[in-house]
Amino acid sequence: MDDEQREFEAWAVSRQQGFLRSAILLTGEQASAEDLVQDALLKVADRWSRLRAEAPDAYARRIIYNGAVTWWRRRKRETPSAELPDAGLAGRSEAWVAGADVRAALQALTPRQRAVLVLRYYEDQSEQQIAETLGVSTGTVKSQAHVAMRRLREEFAIVSAEEVR
């Protein structure tokens, strides 16, 4: 194993679970989330010699979040919305089953609203960082977050820490 490989794998191992959890929130499913993350890791590996000195995290995040939007659009074309399942509860832990309503609630948002929400409140990204990841303006980030939060608040009684203060 050469130094580059060792370095890449150390980085990837340290990030994979965090990326996976974000991807689960984006897709609502473990299997799809794993595909998204592994695809991102593969693309980072392809460019590792260049990315290692820059921002592999930001690059991987862009792949995952934009991949999630593509995944959702493709899925929406193939699956009637009334049938979108929260797959894979059988044989899973109680904690996973208990979180099914959360994943379903997030799927009620648009892909972009979901992405902004997860980046902002799960990954603690700034509005500028979110804008760069998604390729939108900070104004769009703000409005998407606002709409998403309103929906969660009205339908699921969820508030952010900022709203509580």
């Binding site: 994979q16 890791l41 590996a45 010699s49 904690a95 929400l117 303006s137 409005s143």
Partner: protein, 364 residues
């Protein structure tokens, strides 16, 4: 009320921990090797950042261009090609030809106007011409962007003392990058073209090789490269960096941008319908996405201007100019259809009923 962070944490609690890293590196390297075997051509990939010396490292095509992973059991073809190229270059160097020159100062100079034109492609033929050699390049790309493709013949001066055998000349191949003087055009030419002394690069086991110059001797402005592909990227980035700065385009979030807005045509509307029209007009004109969406949801408005539900269709940015169209429609005189007031403009349609309910916003 539940806290959002706790809410999100609950959504991932119990997720199965899996090892997604195993095999990724190997798959990536197999894909890169197969791309070389399959394409045999250098592609200048646009990427930012430093370039690292590595036989296998550096940039490649954009993620969307990556080929699916293909298992291969042999690395021999790639290595043999590099060795064959090295033998050819060694044979040329044996002639003792040592041009008296200075290396091009920087990648920027290599691609600047009047200085050079870069062709990137694949070796398709190598043949002797007297005591010299002509290398035919199947051009895949030219830098700066543009320029004719096709085939270009490159003349390499070697003199009679070279040690290249006919068999070795035939074996030369793979990606190649050549820097030509900008005044040169291959269109209509029949005689081969001499490149810059340090402007002829083939792939060799240590990276890139030239019959007259060692890449390691290039000046500091030339970053280390491990392949023709990486060298092309260096030159492309230098060309892009040298372009005059363009101001970034202003972000467009909402199409409505009247500085002297017209007004709603309220002729014939009931007071409630006029109130709704004024409100929607103001919200569209001020890009109040939240208010418009809230109004559409509350009124159960039939929004048919794109894909998705009302929220998704009314969210900004609106590249199709929906907000502007909505406002513009309301400045036209409405047609009365039963209890409905229909505003139509340029294929867009807004309907408000006599009770002030926003019934429809559609596009035909």
């Amino acid at each position: 009320m539940s806290d959002l962070r706790e809410f999100l944490d609950r959504g991932v609690a119990g997720a199965t921990d899996v090892n997604l890293v195993q095999g990724v590196w190997r798959t990536s390297r197999v894909r890169r090797r197969n791309r070389r075997l399959g394409a045999g051509a250098a592609v200048a990939a646009v990427a930012a950042g430093a370039v690292v010396v590595s036989q296998w490292g550096g940039t490649g095509p954009s993620p969307e261009d990556l080929a699916p992973a293909v298992e291969t059991t042999s690395t021999a073809p790639v290595v043999d090609q590099l060795v064959a190229n090295e033998r050819f270059l060694d044979g040329l160097r044996a002639s003792g030809v040592q041009p008296n020159y200075r290396p091009l100062k920087s990648p920027t100079l290599a691609v600047s106007h009047g200085a050079g034109r870069v062709i990137v492609g694949v070796v398709s033929d190598v043949r002797p011409q007297g005591d010299d050699f002509v290398v035919t390049v199947d051009v895949q790309q030219t830098l700066p962007d543009g320029g004719e493709l096709g085939h270009v013949d490159i003349l390499l001066d070697s003199g009679p003392l070279h040690e290249v055998t006919p068999a070795q000349a035939v074996e030369v191949g793979g990606p190649i990058l050549v820097v030509l003087r900008d005044q040169v055009s291959s269109e209509g030419r029949t005689d081969p073209i001499r490149p810059y002394v340090d402007g002829f690069w083939l792939e060799v086991p240590d990276g890139v090789g030239n019959p007259y110059a060692d890449y390691a001797d290039m000046r500091q402005a030339w970053p280390p490269v491990g392949s023709v592909e990486e060298l092309a990227t260096v030159l492309r980035e230098a060309e892009v960096a040298a372009r005059p700065e363009q101001p970034p385009p202003l972000p467009v979030e909402c199409s409505a941008s009247w500085q002297n807005p017209p007004f709603v045509d309220g002729a014939g509307l009931t007071p409630d319908a006029l109130s709704t029209a004024d409100t929607i007009f103001a919200e569209a004109g001020s890009c109040d996405e939240e208010a418009l969406i809230a109004r559409a949801v509350a009124d159960g408005t039939d929004i048919s201007i794109g894909e998705g539900d009302a929220q998704e269709q009314l969210v900004t940015p609106d590249p199709d100019g929906a907000y502007l169209a909505l406002a513009a429609a309301l400045t036209t005189q409405a047609t009365v259809v039963g209890e409905h007031f229909v505003f139509a403009h340029d294929g867009w349609r807004v309907v408000i009923d006599s009770n002030g309910r926003w019934v429809e916003f559609s596009r035909h």
